[in-house]
Each structure stands twice: as C-alpha cells, then as structure tokens.
Symmetry: C2
Subunit: 163 residues, 2 copies
Amino acid sequence: MSRLDSFIRRLEAQRQCLGEAARLAADLPGIVLELGLGNGRTFDHLRTLCPDREIYVFDRQVAAHPDCIPAPDRLFLGDFDATLPAALQRLGRGRAALVHVDLGSGDAAASRALAAAIAPAVAELMASGAVLVSDQEMAASGLGPLPVPPGVERGRYFMAVRA
Amino acid sequence: MSRLDSFIRRLEAQRQCLGEAARLAADLPGIVLELGLGNGRTFDHLRTLCPDREIYVFDRQVAAHPDCIPAPDRLFLGDFDATLPAALQRLGRGRAALVHVDLGSGDAAASRALAAAIAPAVAELMASGAVLVSDQEMAASGLGPLPVPPGVERGRYFMAVRA
Ligand SMILES: C[S@@+](CC[C@H](N)C(=O)[O-])C[C@H]1O[C@@H](n2cnc3c(N)ncnc32)[C@H](O)[C@@H]1O
Ligand code: NI
Ligand code: NI
C-alpha cells in the first residue's frame, strides 16, 4: 500500500467516524470541539455535519484555508495545556456533544503522549453520552471505547463515548 | 460538499488517473517523471505502480516524508524553469512513458500559468504514446487530451497523450 493509498484510507476513516459520531450524538444537545484546526478540512466537514451546533476550535496557530477559519470567539488559540483549562472555565464542564481530536504529527510517540495528556480535560468537557473521535487512542476516567464503523480498519481512527 | 469531501475526491481522482496512465503506458518503454514531489505521496504511489521504471522527480525543494525522498541522481532540484531544460539535456527528448504534473498550490491562476509555461518542455520529454496526468489542464503542440477514467469528475484531474 502506497502512502497515497494509506492517506486516502486515513481520510475516509476520519470522514466515516465523524459521520457516525454526528449520528450517534444527534439527539444530545451540546457544542462541538475540534482539537487541531490544521488546514480546516475537518472543521469544514463538521460544519456541514452539525450546522446547528456551535463549534469551538483549538490550535496553537491558524494555518487554515481562508474559507475555514473559525470566528475569533470560537477559537482557543494556544497550546492545549493552556486552552483546555481556559475552555473548561469559559464553557463549563459537560457541554460538548461531539469532540474531534486530530493531533497526527509525524512523530507517533509524541502524538500518543499528547493524547494521553489531554484526555482527562477532554473527558471533562464532554456531556454524558457525548462522542469522541480521535486519531489517537484516548483513555480517561469516564471514557469508554466505541467500535469504529464497518469499513474502517481497526487502529486507523478511534471512537469513544462519555459515560 | 465539505473541503474534506473535496480533498478525498481529488486524491481518488489522482489515484485513478495514475493507475489508468500506468496501464495505458504499460507496453511503452521509458522513464517516469514526477513534477512536484511535495510530501512524496504520489511519488510513492508511482513507485508501486511502475516498480521497474526509473522515476525522475522535479521540485524546488525536498519536503517529503523521509521514506519518499528520491535518490540524488533521480532528483532535479530547483525551479522547473531551470530543471526542465537540464532534464532535456541530460535525459534527452522523448524518453518518458508517463509524466505526472501536480502543481496545486492554493493559487489557481498561478497554477494555470505555470502549467502553460512548462507544457512545451513536458511534451518534448515525452515519447510518442506517452501519457500525461496532471492537476491542471495542459496544452502543447503534440499533446492531445485523453478522457479521465469513469468515476473521475471532469475538471478534477486531467490526462493527455503524446502524439
Ligand atoms: C501539490 S505539491 C505536490 C504533491 C505531491 N504530488 C504529493 O502527492 O505529495 C506541489 C509541489 O510543486 C512544487 N513546485 C511548484 N512550483 C514549482 C516550480 N516552479 N518549480 C519547482 N517546483 C515547484 C512545490 O514545491 C510543491 O512541492
Ligand atoms: Ni477557497
Ligand atoms: Ni514513515
């Protein structure tokens, strides 16, 4: 499998998991959190999946396509270390119905460590029944793994639900 | 359609056109040219499609994944302005059986202008019957358009054949 094949599979896994998460959380009121804006492709996808939800975006910088830049009051700019506690304070606990975490740098060990470090704050931001979609496996008290949709290879993308 | 949807379609169009080009050129001896290494995804894909062909890569910089960096003697490093004439001199006319041109910057007008500027040199490098796959429509004397494979939306990716 070439890197082109593998990249297409990753993007399709991402899209299928986000779609499944939006369906699972459809009846749960709440906001959406996007951790990792990047070039804004999944932010844009979340906007189309959840047109009626407020979407808050976290990144240390804005490097997105001009069409995909969140409004300033929906953007937590800075390191997750600082912005997740700020979001807990400003938005409150248990407000999110859907969270997408896409950290994927080239460095697998660093991405895993970062996912582990932010998982407790992410779990606190989620409502009971809220769905987490992530490019890293994320474990925290109150989070239970969900199966990914059929067609998504195990280990390529991850889903979890808040108890 | 979100930018995620649109990006997946672009990559799938790219993959389908490259596969079709490799099939069409299967019986034509010659090298492969990749204009635009980027992060090396399509270079890697071309390696798997054409394992027995020499692949020459053109880019102004090497910013690819470490696994996808061409050997130094297969790399024309610099602006296409300078490297296409150098390749014509070093490799000779009509040596390529398959060429992939992937310029895609965010700036559509600049990409079109660049494609128009390099098309004549690209055509000169191609053997008769060689196939060109490109993210921009490319016209030059000796190049005729080919239909893209079924399933690829018209205008998303382009193919041409050298007379
Ligand atoms: C879209 S990227 C290629 C992506 C690549 N095909 C892949 O699949 O990973 C375009 C590349 O073209 C290169 N490029 C654009 N204009 C150029 C020029 N005038 N001379 C040399 N390289 C150029 C850029 O440096 C960039 O790496
Ligand atoms: Ni645009
Ligand atoms: Ni690697």
